[in-house]
């Protein structure tokens, strides 16, 4: 009996600790997003305000940066997915020359430090007039996110039994017809999952947007960064919350699919 009381106490302490460590940082930004005046050592702001939230919906730099980020993310998703679908089909169904080297190449943008590539891309784009231009950011994001799309869509294609395609071919359908009537429809859920992941990644990406977007373009993360560094903590917190929400929704949505067992294939 005594043992179980000790256990209960330990469990409660652990739960409080976890909540503090995991949720605490998020609670902090939520409170800051409503703060008007907040002096140490008051536990909560002295005055609350909705002013910074209203800025999100009013014409101005917050709304502009959000619209810009969404635009860039949507364009990135479109390019990344369109490039990845044929490539993923190639990897899943054909024997390619230098297959391992190709795979390594596609993996490199995410497996190696990105910063050196992004800053040089910025200087190359600078001479092409793509610096300070949303297309420059879209191109950089497409390149870096290609591996996500490619990985998820290739896995999806590979999970479709070859027999499903062979039957169709056996019944007289050409390779192209087989793809459009059989493979693609079955793969749609995987393609959508890949697209959402790329969208979220692009929305939150800072480094490329910062170096390539400078000096005219401010995506939401870049605006958040400058606000946070300039101690404009309210604006930064509002943007942070807006950027977190889609991620949390996505996480709940794919809760069923994001089984640890599924991720384990990464290790194999």
């Amino acid at each position: 009996m005594k043992f179980s009381i000790l256990r209960m106490t330990l469990k409660v302490v652990f739960i409080i600790f976890m909540l503090l460590v995991m949720i605490g940082p998020l609670v902090g930004i939520v409170i800051w997003s409503f703060a008007r005046v907040w002096y140490w050592p008051s536990p909560l702001p002295q005055e609350f305000t909705l002013r910074y939230w209203i800025e999100v919906f009013k014409q101005g730099r917050v709304l502009n940066s959000l619209v810009l980020s969404v635009t860039i993310a949507l364009l990135t998703v479109a390019f990344s997915t369109l490039l990845a679908i044929p490539a993923a089909y190639g990897f899943a169904r054909y024997r390619l020359p230098f297959e391992r080297i190709l795979l390594l190449l596609f993996l490199m943008p995410q497996a190696f430090p990105q910063l050196p590539v992004f800053i040089n891309l910025a200087s190359i784009f600078g001479r092409m007039g793509l610096r300070g231009n949303i297309w420059g950011i879209v191109l950089a994001h497409t390149m870096a996110s290609l591996v996500f799309s490619l990985w998820i869509i290739t896995a999806t294609f590979k999970s479709i039994p070859v027999e499903l395609e062979q039957v169709a071919q056996n019944l007289g359908a050409s390779r192209f017809k087989v793809f459009w009537t059989i493979t693609f429809p079955i793969a749609i859920p995987g393609i959508i999952a890949g697209a959402i992941y790329v969208f979220l990644w692009s929305m939150g990406e800072f480094t490329a947007a910062f170096f390539i977007g400078a000096p005219f373009i401010q995506t939401a993360p870049v605006l958040m960064y400058t606000s946070s560094m300039g101690y404009n903590l309210q604006i930064a917190s509002v943007i942070a919350i807006i950027l977190i929400i889609p991620s949390l929704i996505f996480m709940i949505l794919i809760e069923r699919f994001l089984k640890a067992e599924y991720i384990a294939s990464l290790g194999g």
Binding site: I15, M18, V21, M22, I23, G24, P25, L26, V27, G28, I29, W32, P41, P43, L83, A84, P86, A87, G90, Y94, R95, L96, L102, L103, L105, F106, A111, F112, P113, Q114, L115, P116, V117, I119, N120, L121, I124, A140, T142, M143, L146, E205, T207, P221, M224, Y225, S228, S237, A240, L243, M251, L258, K259, A260, E261, Y262, I263, A264, S265, L266
Partner: protein, 276 residues
């Protein structure tokens, strides 16, 4: 034979557009990075690397030590988490550890700045509980940087490790338990050795993501010493010095390459030959 060649050609055509994008937007800038790192006043020289050695050798060391520290802490936490969740379902913990999974690093950096600042949310709470006037803040110190890295990196690593643990057939574990091994003993003698490749992947992934992160050290790291990514950013923003910035970039690449080679050799011995 003729048909096989045709097949390969079609496959290659399918991959070609994506391949070209990578060549122009990844490989070309990368080569340019290496090239520029040897240029100073339009002369080929080692001067930039000399400068890296002179000014930044402490930061390079700091980056490697910090990253290694992060990897160690993350591995310990992941294995603890994964071992617990392998034996016991606990939805609360399952949900909590995955929370940071999709939150962009930049936002984590901002949230931690507010949370760990000297007058931040954490100290606000702690001073009240401990009934003291002031507590030191962790932001802008190596503790805050380590804390934040561990906070964002653990979910990924734990997901991979737990995945491997769960994929392991229960009969291996039951056989050991049946012979009298405790749960802890089973983890150390059966589960961990059998899941070594996955633990390795988790470690490598954590290492690479940590050492190449810019946003977290720039938001929360100390002014000096700091991670090399921050140095690269300042070199460009304040000095417009692309040579040294790229030399730093090449150094960070080399660190990862050394690791990658080590990883491939580990995998080769683990599997008895490199396989796809």
């Amino acid at each position: 034979m003729r048909l096989q060649t045709k097949e390969r050609f079609i496959g290659f055509l399918l991959v070609l557009p994506a391949f070209l994008v990578l060549i122009f937007l990844y490989v070309y800038p990368l080569i340019r990075a290496i090239w520029t790192s040897f240029l100073k006043d339009n002369h080929l020289t080692w001067a930039n690397y000399g400068k890296v050695f002179e000014i930044y050798s402490r930061d390079v060391l700091y980056s490697v030590v910090m990253t290694t520290g992060v990897v160690l802490v993350v591995l310990v936490l992941s294995i603890l988490l994964a071992s617990y969740l392998r034996f016991k379902e606990w939805r609360f913990l399952d949900l909590m550890y995955r929370l940071p999974l999709f939150i962009p690093f930049l936002i984590v950096g901002h949230a931690m700045r507010i949370f760990l600042a000297p007058h931040g949310t954490l100290n606000n709470l702690l001073t009240r509980i401990l009934r003291v006037e002031e507590l030191p803040g962790f932001s802008r110190s190596w503790i805050g940087l380590l804390w934040t890295f561990v906070w964002v990196m653990t979910p990924y690593a734990a997901l991979i490790v737990l995945g491997a643990f769960r994929a392991l057939d229960s009969s291996y574990i039951e056989a050991a338990r049946n012979l009298g091994a405790s749960k802890a003993k089973v983890v150390f003698t059966v589960i961990m050795p059998m899941c070594k490749p996955s633990i390795m992947v988790a470690a490598i992934l954590t290492f690479v993501r940590t050492i190449s992160s810019l946003t977290i050290p720039v938001m929360i790291g100390p002014n000096t010493p700091n991670m090399i990514t921050v140095d690269m950013m300042f070199r460009i923003n304040f000095f417009n010095d692309w040579g040294v910035a790229n030399a730093l970039g090449v150094v960070s690449y080399l660190i990862v390459v050394v690791l990658a080679v080590y990883y491939l050799r580990f995998m080769a011995t683990e599997r008895g030959g490199i396989k796809g």
